[in-house]
Amino acid sequence: MNWIRFIIALIILAGLTSCTDKQQAKDSRLALMKTTDPKPIVTDGKAGSDQAEKIKHKVSSFPEIYDVAVVKGKKGTLVAYKVKHLQRFNMKKIEQKMTKKLEDEFPKENFTVSSDYKIFLEVVRLNEKMHSGSISDRQADKRFNEIVEMTEDMK
């Protein structure tokens, strides 16, 4: 009897999980579990994509992290990354080190650095929306500012 109940519960659970929104693209659905490695995005027109690429390359050279997403907006640049699991104790230090290095390297940019999964996920979602063309540059920049605001709430 108990087994039957258990199996029914499993079936219902499987049914429910398969129904969760299908319109979401593939990458953002698993962004927290696997390496996504999204391309850097620029919400500020087309200029500056070279620099965004450079920033991403620079950040990726840190051995402690494994997935980097860069967004360049009008007001600044957002760098989101995932820290390797055993390095998570040093998250504060890594963040300080990275901010310093980036500011030394690109003194004109205004950087926001975050290792939060939520920020990373939102950047991947924004990336997907921009690539599918379902969002205009202006909307994207607005969303970018919202994400930056989210990081400021954490401090």
Binding site: L121, M150, M154
Partner: protein
């Protein structure tokens, strides 16, 4: 237990007999059970916090609050249905140490004293065990925050 010198001969004999027949506690087995069930509960917690990150506007830092609330609520429901008690029988500390144990402590005390009325029974005894969790939790948090504040003021951190 009484001192061995104070016991009569018969009592000592009985003690020996009792020790011979007493079942050994399977400490290692209990630890393993507690480890896995505790880990399972924490996995559920992790899934819930990812759920909040994905579908709501919570960051990794702020997601702790709704996750804890959900876990406590779930364990309260399970206690009410009598499921959590069985889990507790099986896993022991593995089910008591995560926050879900807190929900269990609140609701099991409330159920136990239901017959004594709503005010003096349920209301008065609900936090019998959970109250000490709150008291020492808040006090420990206060002490840690105090130490951290002092360290920041002195420039150590």
């Amino acid at each position: 237990m009484a001192n061995k010198q104070n016991m009569t001969h018969e009592q000592q004999q009985y003690q020996q007999l009792q020790q011979k027949h007493e079942k050994k506690r399977p400490v290692l087995k209990n630890c393993i059970k507690a480890f896995f069930i505790g880990g399972l509960i924490c996995t559920v917690g992790q899934a819930i916090s990812y759920f909040y990150i994905y579908f709501f506007n919570f960051t990794e830092q702020s997601v702790g609050n709704p996750t804890v609330a959900t876990m406590v609520f779930l364990s309260m429901l399970l206690t009410g249905f009598g499921v959590y008690d069985r889990l507790g029988q099986f896993a022991g500390a593995g089910s008591a140490v995560p926050v879900t144990g807190f929900g269990n402590a609140v609701i099991s005390a409330a159920i136990e004293h239901r017959t004594e009325g709503f005010v003096l029974g349920v209301g008065g005894n609900m936090f019998k065990l959970a109250g000490s969790v709150l008291l020492f939790g808040v006090f420990a948090a206060f002490v840690v925050a105090l130490i951290k504040t002092l360290l920041v003021i002195w420039g150590v951190l």
